[in-house]
């Protein structure tokens, strides 16, 4: 096995048209290996490393064990989000194991000099909400976190992806990561949604996953483009990029435009003044996909006839239109025996019968939150549905803002009152019932309309049944006690 090494950035391909992903990739190559005549792994520089309490303790332990330091604590930021309670913050954390994990993060950050937005910090929140919110996320950067939904940050033109704990340790120690270059995948979204309040970014991404499957993007980085993407707000783009991982892709990316630059301007960690304007000039010129750039895969989705989406099964490709009925396994599987068995299993777990209209399905719980749908716009849109109405007496509904800042902004707009008056619980920020690591969980057999990203068996609590929907669909379901076509309300 002969490896030969290049000590400098690859400069041979500067004349070839490139995608934004390829440009960011090339800009971050520290070192490059060949394997025979093929490309080997690249050592990529990581500009921003985000940490949370669940996937980092073992990485810090290994650093200590090997006497290693954190190479760039100044490029590393931590928060507590996965297992924190969303009830009153002034009370101690009752769950002792959660408390231990939270204390471990605090101790590790102190020992290694890492900025931490802890439990009581006004900047605390879901790591993928606070990164963009504080200007830690910048166009053209590489961002990693021990969390698969790191793909969210791609909405601002960053190359951002989830990593495991061993890679967290590697980035802590070296600020770099060995990677084989993923393939490129363009998803072009054309047309215009007929009702822009009722049909949301969530419905777009769910319909994409329905079409390409949960492994459709495996081995690729997805670039979302087209007129529909340009029309979306930055927060809506985050919802789309967030669920790239549910389509199997490690990252999703959108070329940053004026909306993106305006979004990040003036945030806590964003460069200021003339330096910022210089960076914007650089981004405008460099962070684009060249006209003739080639993608290894390319699909187009037209949203003219898109309607609100609801998941019925136990993976995020098991999705139907709100106007549809629960599918028969044979129809879902389309001749694939593995998929047919998966559908049978899903129907049994979800306690659903084929041919049932999805709007006949009664729910017990509603969760509005998660790194997919817990930002101010999400809460604002959901509040339009809720205002002046009451949550069904059969439903327990909660809103969990993505961050303390989102919570405060929402309260300034009076959204907390709208939700509380309707009978929703208004909680503190965190991942909460998206994965149920705190006490916000479904009881066995409970059925939930959730704005989160995964409907896996037991995801929101052992035996719980999750239906993925947009914030407005979740809000409407809370009111009626079953799924409804929210287009009739907005």
């Amino acid at each position: 096995m002969v490896l030969y090494l290049c000590y400098k950035l690859i400069e041979t391909s500067t004349s070839m048209p490139k995608t934004i992903f390829e440009k960011i990739w090339d800009n971050h190559i520290v070192y490059f290996k060949k394997e025979g005549s093929n490309d080997g792994p690249s050592l990529l520089y990581i500009d921003r490393h985000l940490l949370h309490e669940v996937t980092s303790p073992q990485a810090f332990d290994a650093l200590r064990l090997n006497g290693r330091r954190v190479r760039r604590p100044d490029l590393t930021f931590a928060t507590m989000d996965h297992n924190v309670p969303t009830s009153n913050r002034s009370l101690p954390i009752v769950d002792q194991i959660s408390r231990t994990q939270i204390q471990a993060l605090a101790q590790n950050c102190k020992e290694f000099g890492i900025t931490l937005f802890d439990f009581n910090n006004p900047n605390q929140g879901i790591v993928h909400v606070i990164g963009p919110e504080m200007g830690i996320t910048l166009p053209g950067t590489t961002i990693v976190c021990g969390d698969s939904h790191t793909s969210t940050h791609g909405a601002l033109g960053a190359l951002a992806f989830g990593i495991g704990t061993s890679e967290v340790e590697h980035v802590l120690a070296t600020q770099c990561l060995w990677m084989y270059k993923p393939k490129t995948f363009a998803i072009t979204i054309t047309g215009k949604c007929k009702n822009q309040h009722a049909i949301t970014a969530k419905d777009i991404i769910l319909s994409i996953i329905k079409r390409i499957g949960t492994a459709g993007g495996t081995g690729t980085i997805i670039e979302y483009k087209g007129e529909m993407i340009t029309d979306l707000s930055v927060e809506q783009r985050m919802t789309i990029c967030n669920m790239s991982i549910e389509a199997g892709a490690r990252a999703g990316l959108i070329v940053p435009d004026q909306k993106a630059f305006d979004y990040i301007r003036g945030r806590t960690y964003t460069p200021k003044g003339e330096q910022f304007e210089k960076m914007v000039d650089y981004w405008r010129e460099n962070l684009i996909t060249d006209t003739n750039a080639k993608f290894e895969r390319d699909i187009t989705l037209n949203v003219n006839d898109l309607v609100p989406q609801v998941s019925w099964g136990t993976n995020p490709s098991m999705v139907i239109d709100v106007t549809d009925t629960i599918p028969y396994p044979d129809d879902f599987a389309n001749g694939n025996e593995n998929e047919r068995k998966a559908a049978l299993r899903a129907l049994e777990y979800m306690a659903l019968k084929p041919a049932t209209p999805i709007t006949d399905v009664q729910i017990d719980r509603v969760f509005i939150g998660s790194c997919t749908n817990s930002r101010l716009e999400d809460l604002l849109e959901a509040s339009l549905v809720v205002k002046g109405r009451k949550v069904s007496c059969k439903v327990r509904a909660m809103v969990v803002p993505g961050s303390q800042k989102v919570k405060i902004e929402a309260e300034k707009l009076g959204l907390d009152k709208v939700f509380k008056d309707a009978g929703f619980e208004w909680r503190e920020s965190g991942c909460s019932m998206c994965l149920g690591m705190n006490s916000d969980i479904l009881a066995p057999g409970e059925r939930c309309a959730s704005t989160s990203n995964r409907n896996f068996e037991g995801r929101q609590g052992s035996g719980g049944r999750t239906h993925l929907v947009s914030p407005v669909m979740a809000a409407a379901a809370a009111i009626e006690g079953h799924f409804v076509d929210v287009r009739k309300w907005l």
Partner: protein, 199 residues
């Protein structure tokens, strides 16, 4: 990491597609802050009922499969959450390799970091294995070869990953030797866009 050796075992068949990491290691076990001892929680909700009693229908509870070192799975194995606890659990349970039709990206990479070998085979080969779970299987990483009874097939793997497993390399040590090149990169990059400066 222990250098990877040739594996000889029969397979434990898990006949389910799209197995996600929430099933491999449910969230309640992610609160632990050590790296070891996750094997007893592997596939917890599929393996045990709510009272903690084994579910007899689940493959890991069938005594026939006790001690087998190769987990046989279908397509898109390890999808979902990036939790490395999933590979820790599989390895701690006693598996040394996973043979499947395909793997999810993050899970696949996590396997190499702990010395667990993920092997992708064609759907026909996977079908054959599911039909013949009592055949002896040998996995030879150096020669990239799987022997199933009398059938021999090859699998693909990137050279660097293969080398990491075969030599049990500490990847951080490898990278730390490139420190001067990393410093050079930081200086050069700073001149273009100050991403490498303290924000």
């Amino acid at each position: 990491m222990e250098p990877f050796k040739v594996i000889k075992s029969k397979v434990t068949p898990l006949d389910i597609s799209n197995v996600d990491t929430d099933q491999i290691i449910p969230k309640q076990f992610l609160k632990l802050i050590q790296r070891t001892g996750f094997g007893k929680y592997l596939f917890y909700d599929w393996r045990f009922d709510r009272d903690g009693n084994p579910k007899h229908k689940f493959v890991l509870n069938d005594p026939k499969y006790t001690g087998r070192q190769i987990l046989l799975a279908r397509d898109n194995f390890g999808s979902g959450s990036s939790r490395e606890h999933a590979v820790w659990a599989i390895q701690d349970y006693g598996f040394k390799a996973i043979v499947a039709q395909s793997f999810a990206d993050i899970f696949y990479i996590n396997c190499f970091k702990v010395g667990l070998l993920p092997v992708s085979l064609s759907s026909e080969e996977i079908e054959y294995l599911f039909r013949n779970t009592d055949l002896d299987v040998e996995i030879d990483l150096f020669n990239q070869q799987v022997t199933i009874g009398t059938i021999i097939t090859n699998f693909k793997i990137y050279e660097y990953r293969k080398k990491t497993l075969l030599q049990g390399l500490d990847e951080i040590d490898v990278t730390l030797q490139l420190e001067s090149i990393i410093v050079e990169y930081e200086k050069k990059n700073k001149a273009i866009v100050p991403y490498t400066d303290k924000p």
